[in-house]
Symmetry: C3
Subunit: 266 residues, 3 copies
């Protein structure tokens, strides 16, 4: 776990191009900005090539898309592959909505992601494992989460983050678990989307995407946990505000004091 | 007024499917989440049937729509009726923009809402009563607000919430007034949209939509009022943050200490 | 510098019609509302004429547009000119993305703006001056910023605001510099878009757009600076919240205590 990547990120201020969920786009942009990256957003195919060219990494959110946006997502994904820019995918609600799973599966034949981040229901759906999702939430099931994440990573030949109370990060062989965090992430609808874009920001500053994925999860989870430790009375609204402050102000040294993770395999 | 419905809502965590105003969608999602419901959003007709199927209630915001969105709203409204899911309509700015009133009137022949929530200008427009709206704000007029709300409820055969400093809730016969609240709701553009979706959340946990509508208004107004009582210096930004906290943390017992409402008829 | 315009604005509560960047639309609406204006938003050409008719001023954000939105922007710009409503343009990222510059240049032959507000990279691009922009950020270059702003104002025959640590406001002859502000504006992605719409709000309450532009810049920069002076520990999230409070609560007298500006020419 190379937490010093956070300092690299803040020095390099990488541009992250996001095709974002319309529900959470403002929080995602502000979260990237607060952490030290530079967000750009676009809904227009005509500028896709230029946008990818500017960016150090690309994050595609597969939630809440229209037909027109699918075409743009496909184009941007292909261009990211062509330009060899790291590509992060967030498959929102593919576990709950069959239509979204079908579209996502189609898109994943058109381009290759370097990292996929989703909750248990979403990663299970992409891995082809039975799971009971609930709406856009993770749902619950009996499956072994490590097995699900590993199966998805092997199937799609990429790094997978199965996020939840414990984040599981795997490249199909090695597995790291991050156990920091706070339940308050669940009451802020932008948390998952924000994490996905932060993963992309870390992928822009190292070629080791497994390392980038772990570090992003640790940084995000630890900052959330530190917010609650410092302000125990925070709730839905104040947590979000303090999280943004924390993304900007938290140091690597502060994160190291609480960092809780383990290498399961590898 | 069955305030205990708030506890039911928090236990059941109902999924509310929203077609939301693009201006306020993030606040609406976060507000639902904070209160204890589970928001889902979509702009894509192809997943309308699945989305309604997942949901315990549907809320359609008729503000800021494009031609494409109108078709989606029509489809979702019809499916909600077919699936017998409670349907809440928020007719944003139909009092100020003739185009929106015409579209809304057309849509209301395509599906039947269970609850309509709007300000005085919006409800007057749907009722066919003269009223001077101002932009997206309520405007002012000489009409008897109870008469306007009742006329709208009778005309459209649904529960009507005419919200403002005093919320008027009517099924066309019975009328309840909720007098809690705070003027700070006016400086937060998402307040009305958030209330509409919260009404839908309550409709998901009871079949008595008149009861659901009253309770939603009381819960929302009282939480806003409690925020200001506890933090008298709040203004536009901090009010919104504390409102989100309040939606999550306020108990039925706290609401009961200030609940101010009266049954006018019935 | 007529700071009393802020009081006029709060008394008149002008309606500002915005075609907004989808990333920042909620913050823009809330910022206008907090300051004392009344925001309306629309993405639908069919209601463009009515929307402009309701408004005291129009603000068109040229960031993050799709093909469909370009058509709407063109229509709304022309109608604003026809109805002689003040028109403010925010040319987001035209300095970084050639596609956006081309579209913006085309639009600027279809309607005439009264005020353009952008960062150095954006204004340089419209003026046809070489400049190194970075993503959506201002970038850096060797040019004389006053010369760039003046060249843009002369070329397009309008008031130009080149905003940054120092805001430069010019009508092509006269130049005013506003040196208030805080670096925290940079960590909030909505700051520039919010300022553009606030410029429009001031244009709605005076026919002197050079005066309106200066006053808007001073009010916004000074309120940001006062937030940080009063709460020195603010960061990305809390700054935004306190900025919204400040937009609502800050008086002209408070702004006068720190107002720092100079008339360079004229």
């Amino acid at each position: 776990m190379k937490l010093a990547l956070l300092e690299t990120l803040r020095q390099q201020n990488p541009i992250v191009f996001n095709i974002s969920n319309f529900v959470t786009v403002q929080d995602v942009a502000n979260g990237l900005n607060a952490l030290g990256a530079s967000p750009i957003m676009s809904e227009e195919v005509a500028e896709a090539d230029e946008m990818v060219g500017l960016a150090g990494a690309v994050c595609l959110n597969l939630g809440a898309f229209t037909q027109g946006q699918i075409e743009q997502i496909r184009t941007v994904g292909r261009i990211a592959n062509q330009q060899q820019k790291p590509l992060v995918i967030d498959p929102v609600a593919v576990g709950a909505i069959a239509y979204r799973r079908e579209v996502a599966e189609g898109l994943l034949t058109d381009f290759h992601p370097d990292v996929i981040r989703g909750n248990a229901g979403e990663i299970a759906a992409l891995a082809g494992v039975a799971w009971q999702a609930k709406g856009i939430d993770a749902g619950e099931g009996d499956g072994d989460l490590v097995a699900i994440a590993t199966a998805c990573a092997k199937k799609l030949a990429c790094v997978v983050i199965l996020s939840g109370p414990t984040d599981i990060i795997t490249d199909g062989e090695r597995v790291v678990k991050v156990t920091n965090g706070t339940p308050l992430f669940q009451v802020h609808v932008g948390s998952g989307d924000m994490l996905s874009s932060i993963v992309a920001a870390f992928c822009a500053v190292t070629t080791d995407y497994f390392e980038a994925a772990q570090t992003a999860c640790m940084v995000f989870a630890a900052i959330g946990q530190l917010v609650v430790q410092r302000q125990p009375q925070v709730a839905a609204g104040s947590f979000t505000m303090h999280l943004m402050d924390g993304l900007q102000m938290t140091t690597v040294a502060e994160i190291e004091t609480i960092a809780a993770y383990q290498l399961e395999k590898g």
